[in-house]
Amino acid sequence: MSNYKVADIGLAKAGRKAIEIAENEMPGLMSLRKTQGKTKPLAGSRISGCLHMTVQTAVLIETLVDLGAEVRWCSSDIFSTQDEAAAAIAATGISVFAWKGETEEEYEWCIKQTLIFPDKQPLNMILDDGADLTKLVHKQYPELLNGIKGISEQTTTGVQVLNAMVRDGILAFPAIDINDSVTKSKFDNLYGCRESIVDGIRRATHIMLAGSVAMVAGFGDVGKGCAQALRGSGCRVLVTEIDPIVAMQAAMEGYEVLTAHHAAVKANLVITTTACTSVIDGSILELLPDNAVVCNMGQFDTEIDVSWLKATALKKTTIRPQVDSYLLPNGKHILVLADGHLVNLGCAKGHPSFVMSTSFTNQVLAQIELWTNNQDCKNYKKGKLYTLPKYLDEEVARLHLDHLGVELTKLTPKQSKYLGIPVNGPFKSDRYRY
């Protein structure tokens, strides 16, 4: 197995500079290095990571290593790698297999490279984003399953996959769903997308958002963030939803809730955020106005039916990398960004570092929990999915407050007794929704 495979190792210097800047914005991870770097809680762990190889992930990787782990890394999407970050990590001697613009076959190849460590040692922990690595090991390397202590999963879609595996009784080890930590889904998914959706669209196209009509499919955390950002830029936003509670939230925020076919005739910008499949199919694509821009903010590329486009279009023109124009038989053009893959990573630089710090701090804590706090699978059982306890969630938030100049109020002993809450938290019940 080769040591690494990246686009251009020469980019390592530029990557290092970018990493240094990111470190300034990731107080959670840097704090963990400071407090736990000496005790090396992850010593002995061999983590296979499958998560977008970006500058922020580089800071995560180096934090894991600082805490004693050995890691091998690949990206969780074919377009999301930032080549200079991959190069910088490879230059430190970490085995990373990722470049921007992989093929599907190369993508799978990269995952496979992460499984066996030097001296033929197999992985014993997984850090996953979309559950592709977990699925692959279960399907193609079942002999390795016994040696794996656990997996921490990053994203909604991946949790869906894991839930299905738990239901079918095939998940071979304990899993921690960090997506459903409050400090992840209510920050990364919401605020991260709020900042990166417009970034992705602007870097890829020249459309004016003010006055445009955007159809946002799905109004979950990602949909909420996207809708808010687009409205803030002057778009008129239409929402489609299957869930009545979420549809009502959209209505309360003043968005029109339509079905996709009704929205499509008006929308010159379409964004999918559903984690579902075939949300924008041929029948909807045909209704869109000429030169409509279609893109996706969900983890997988199944939301927009790009294969229908490829089969049906009379012509495909690549305007620039990750921006393709399809001419339909009805004479209209559709502009597809990042081939239906995540547009914020495919066409821009993903989420801002600060919000990735809250997510990744959860990841590191989850890895530490599974590695050090699970003797004989007592706390986290095989084949089950857990979330981090609330006091850790609150700890993640705490680590990020100084950076924003926050002065937290402290409960007096009297107030603490009145509320029945310890002075240092946890402050909310598990039912609380934030």
Binding site: Y191, P244, R398, V406, K414, Q415, Y418
Partner: protein, 557 residues
């Protein structure tokens, strides 16, 4: 202030309170007597009000009344009464959620009959039914109009009536209810009977009853025991009347605050054990239920409606977002743009409050104890500070914490003159109002629910609703939001009543998600919102049922 007084007295002198007595205004003697009686009644009301607000001794009360300002303030509220009456004659255009119903204890109708407690009156409706106790059955027509208007904004309940009327899912249910009695909850009550239930109802708050709505319910044959301005003793008497009556064996409880549940457990434990379940609405009541469950004293299942998504994320968030502005405007008429507003707490209520005020150009600061909520505030562009950093510069202070003594006397001492202080939390202990009832401070009533507290050096702080929940005291809650809440309660009752044996044990449960989603779907038509349906393929891919539930229980919305 004094010119205003003069103006008011100029306007008032020739007039007397009631239109029908106006004819006798020429008779000086009669109008003087009446004037004196009204003054006595108002003093009595103020006294009653103050007796029930915590921490105030009777001696303090006397010194308030002895200040010269009493007369002028009485005159101000007098003018209000007149305005109120005028509005009511045009009532069709004024919705049930108008200021009149909730605004203040100086609301006209209750005063006129104040001389006799409803318990000492025997009234009966037009059909001779008399098993109720309310202020005045003659106001039933006004109440009915208000209920009809509320129905227009509460499509879900009317829809529910239509859909379930054939099945009558609550037939056999005998519900004892203890909630606020308003036009909106009247719609709920009538829905429950349309679904087959029999009910007896009382109020969960001594001031919140809309008398004319209670009258309308009594007229329609409901056993309702509630009036605005109950005394503490009346409150418990009303609850008693709902629990016990000849031939009445209640089997379900709908509670708001836990007082009804508490009464039944204490005094009628056998009745309690024979019931099918409790539906509890408020944070406080839910808290009490969880405590009972922990000490194994809860012998029947309970539904916690407060923590359903549709309640938490809609009632707490959106209704506060709308009513904070309403409450502040009606009481103080301040300009929101450019004000420095300090919001204590960034939970659901805090989020709604901040969002509304920022929308109108206020500069908002948040204080928080919870790092996660603090981080959320930051992400929304709001500075998170400690109270002592902004206490001197803040123009408006709003508490929404659920905690007590968030704003202490010390903070109030340091606020600038003219600062406005109010509370959006359920309990009235968030602002330490008791600490303001000392001899060095003077209280001056500006208008109903608005008090100036004056320091010896002349500095004034404006306190709203005496630190009580602002939106219920000084404004209203949009009917639509109440529709969501009441619909959830109705469905919780249906669920508990019809659940097969053993599904619910002696514990506190959350509403099943499917019901939560059903409540939401009943409201979508109002917005002309069209829900997308999953294809079979998509449903399989997601591992979901096409008709829901669509999200796991841990999803936070």
């Amino acid at each position: 202030m004094s010119t205003m007084e003069e103006q008011h007295s100029m306007e008032l002198r020739p007039l007397s309170p009631r239109c029908d007595v106006a004819a006798k205004a020429n008779d000086q003697h009669v109008s003087q007597e009446l004037e004196e009686k009204r003054r006595q009644l108002r003093r009595q009301i103020s006294k009653n009000r103050r007796l029930f607000s915590r921490g105030l001794s009777v001696s303090r009360l006397d010194s308030i009344e002895s200040t010269a300002s009493v007369d002028s303030t009485e005159q101000i509220s007098f003018v209000e009464d007149k305005k109120v009456r005028k509005k009511r004659s045009m009532s069709r255009s004024v919705s049930a959620s108008s200021a009149d119903s909730f605004s203040s204890a100086s609301y006209s109708s209750s005063e006129d009959e104040d001389d006799v407690s409803p318990r000492e009156k025997s009234q009966s409706n037009s059909k001779g039914f008399s098993d109720f106790c309310i202020r005045n059955i003659k106001h039933a027509d006004f109440g009915r109009r208000e209920i009809e208007i509320a129905e227009q904004e509460m499509p879900a309940l009317t829809d529910l009536r239509r859909r379930a009327q054939a099945d009558k899912p609550l037939s056999g249910a005998k519900i004892v209810g203890c909630t606020h009695i308003s036009a909106q909850s009247a719609v709920l009550i009538e829905t429950l009977t349309a679904l087959g239930a029999k009910v007896r109802w009382c109020a969960c708050n001594i001031y919140s009853t809309q008398n004319e709505v209670a009258a309308a319910l009594a007229e329609a044959g409901y056993s309702v025991f509630a009036w605005k301005g109950e005394e503490e003793e009346d409150f418990w008497w009303c609850i008693e009347k709902c629990i016990t009556s000849d031939g009445w064996h209640p089997n379900m409880i709908l509670d708001d605050g836990g007082d009804l549940t508490h009464s039944i457990i204490k005094k009628y434990p056998t009745i309690f054990r024979g019931m099918k379940g409790i539906v509890e609405e408020s944070v406080t009541g839910v808290h009490r239920l969880y405590q009972l469950a922990k000490t194994a004293k809860l012998s029947i299942p309970a539904m916690n409606v407060n923590d359903s998504v549709t309640k938490q994320k809609f009632d707490n968030l959106y209704s506060c977002r709308e009513s904070i502005l309403d409450g502040l405007k009606r009481t103080t008429d301040i300009m929101f743009g450019g004000k420095q507003v300090v919001v204590c707490g960034y939970g659901e209520v805090g989020k709604g409050v901040c969002s509304a005020l920022r929308g109108l150009g206020s500069v908002v600061y948040v204080t928080e104890i919870d790092p996660i909520c603090a981080l959320q505030a930051c992400m929304d562009g709001i500075r998170v500070v400690r109270l002592n950093e902004v206490v001197r510069s803040g123009d408006v202070f709003i508490t929404c914490t659920g905690n007590k003594n968030v704003i202490s006397r010390e903070s109030l001492d340091r606020m600038k003159s003219g600062a406005i202080v109010c509370n959006m939390g359920h309990s009235n202990t968030e602002i330490d109002v008791a600490s303001l009832k000392t001899n060095d401070l003077t209280w001056e009533k500006v208008r109903s629910q608005v008090d100036h507290i004056i320091w010896p050096d002349g500095k004034r702080v404006v306190l709203l609703a005496e630190g009580r929940l602002l939106n219920l005291s000084c404004s209203t809650v949009p009917s639509f939001v109440l529709s969501i809440t009441h619909c959830t309660q109705a469905l919780a009752l249906i669920e508990l009543f019809n659940a097969p044996e053993g599904r619910y044990k002696q514990d506190v449960y959350l509403l099943p998600k499917k019901m939560d989603e059903y409540v939401a779907s009943l409201h979508l038509a109002t917005f002309d919102a069209h829900l997308t349906e999953l294809s079979d393929d998509q449903a399989k891919y997601l591992g979901l049922n096409k008709s829901g539930p669509f999200k796991p229980n841990y999803y936070r919305y």
